[in-house]
């Protein structure tokens, strides 16, 4: 098996573990390699670069409700206080996700105690500390994660979304 197909094989294995598709399946080294690959994904969509908030306005584990890439796409931005997968900022703890469930578009609720997004429609659950990984539920994709960067002044910008937002053919509407 080539390196590439071996990696694919591991991916396949991870998913076939079924409901247990929770991040523990891949050893850490594999997981970070996967992550690097996914983030180099090239997009042809004209994402706007939008300032969302300044880091000084964020409270730990408190969800900030915003929209991106347009007003019809609700997102939540959270600063966790401890380093998490794909977090940005000085502590690597800031992430933002689409608030539409990737199952059938339920309006997700973030719960600080679980650190996850919960869907009231069919009870899917997505872990915000693991790059939006579905913990349980009937969705077939992780929660789309907003790509963020921070400048010297602490202003946090969104410049893309990884993963398809529910209810769209393309993340940036035609």
């Amino acid at each position: 098996m080539s390196d590439l197909s071996r990696r694919h094989f591991l991916k396949l294995g991870a998913c076939l573990a079924g409901g247990a598709c929770a991040g523990t399946v891949l050893p850490m080294a594999e997981a970070s390699q996967e992550a690097k690959e996914a983030s180099t994904l090239t997009t042809t969509l004209p994402y706007p670069r939008l300032k969302l908030v300044n880091i000084s306005e964020l409270e730990i584990r408190h969800e900030m409700r915003l929209t991106y890439p347009d007003v019809d796409s609700p997102i939540s931005l959270i600063k966790f206080g401890t380093r998490i997968l794909h977090g940005i900022g000085p502590e690597g703890d800031i992430v933002a996700f689409s608030r539409y469930c990737t199952h059938m578009g339920g309006h997700l609720q973030f719960k600080a105690d679980t650190g996850a997004f919960h869907c009231p429609l069919h009870f899917a659950m997505f872990d915000a500390q693991k790059s939006g990984l579905m913990v349980i539920g009937q969705a077939t994709d992780n929660l789309p994660q907003v790509e963020l960067e921070m400048d010297d002044r602490g202003d946090i910008y969104a410049f893309g979304v990884k993963g398809l937002i529910y209810g769209r053919q393309a993340n940036v509407l035609a």
Binding site: K11, Q138, T140, D141
Partner: protein, 517 residues
Amino acid sequence: MSMISHGEDRVPIPPADAQHYSTVCSYCIVGCGYKVYKWPLGKEGGPKPHQNALNADFSKQQPQRSGNWISSAMHNVITERNGTRFNIVVLPDRNCAVNKGNHSVRGGTHGDVLYAPDRPTADRLTSPFLYRGGHQLPTTWEEALTFGARIIKACLDTWGPDSIAMKCFDHGGGGGGFENNWAVGKFFFTGIGTQMASIHNRPAYNSEVFAAGDAGLASLPASYMDAQLADTIVLIGANSYETQSIYFLEHMVPNLSGETLAFKNATLPGESHAPAKIIIIDPRRTATVAVAEAVAGKANVLHLQINNGTDIALLNSLSRLIHERGWHDQEFIETRTDNFEEFKAKNLLQDLDHTLRLTGVLGEQLLMAAEWIAKPKSDTHRRRTLILYEKGLIWGLKNYENIASVVDLALLTGNLGKPGTGCSRLGGHQEGYSRPRYPGTRPPINVDDVAIKGEGSKIFWVAGCNPVGGTLNAQPFRLSLERRTSIVNQALNSVSGGSEEDRIQAVLTALEKGVFF
């Protein structure tokens, strides 16, 4: 296939003139409907309704449950034999009465799991393997087939048809179904004529719930509508949020939440209706329990967290309690059943205190379960209870007695053949079942037991299943298989440099002592 993270930020949409087909999910027996769209690679539908086959306006955000969102997992690109490439989208059918556009984590990935040479599904076993010098090495189909066929023929001639045992999948659905099942039956039953047959997840060639069949019940006597109409739903050894997900989400959950009340009143007038209550019998606190509590409120969910293997005591105690309180269905018993006296003398004598000790369930929980199952709603109306069970009840050394006691409970309370009632499995996979008749006796031979005892068959043909994972007495079975196959491997190793003839002779000599895979 995804690691459930595709990363893509757009999907192609089918153009208005895309080919489209209706189909059914290839995974479980719930049978959710799907629409398949197929169109040439390089072409795409536009975002305006008239520009795409879904008639949807993708220049706008779609509302929740729109039923026309294509997730990345629903799309793939396939290559036909002549090299032409096509986009494929497999979308849950919003007009299907079963799923209404909903899908489970399995059904939502029909696109992902299609074979594509440039995706992980390309990792396939494409050539047969033969033991050589202690390793399984790839070989040609021709060599493998000749080798296998000659050994089978030699066994058949020397020891007769029962020297060839088999355990084969009988999955229908995706990629086979009728054709697979028919070919397997034709080969083993018509061609070889062996009785040593068993199905992928059981030790013999029988129904998984033959006690229900013996009691005269059809395999699936309830419809999804019954789940919408029931006063009480009982789930035993089943985690239906995660398996049979759409049956649970689209047909049970709306009854638990009260969403089907108007339908209940209209369909069954003249009796009182309320949102359904649910009893979940499972040693584990499952996702199904959590979801049921969230939907129905804790007061309407009774989770009997019994100790492993205590189903029979629990179910017979419920029967006893119900009978003692006079909540049984006398008319049904008289007109529809026989052997009631025998049932009374056996099941209804179950000691209740003993049951509480065995199961770990509290007395008030037991009584509450009896009430929810059978306490009449009024002088004129019985409760409508739908009893559904799965592997937790089916799989165990007491399979027959487990199923018999749940069927007896349903018969005692008249919960069969009326709207909102029923007693059956939730159901497994799609079957597409069609085979020539099994040539053996009834009840059929327990093939795994024969293997454990070291008797009988010389060849054990295993296809599409893990024989040790699906048997009742796993460890002795595993050890027996290991011991007997290693004899053959040793024989093959001893002639690893030899001709095909040498190898066949070596195997046949070894078969005098062991079993061959």
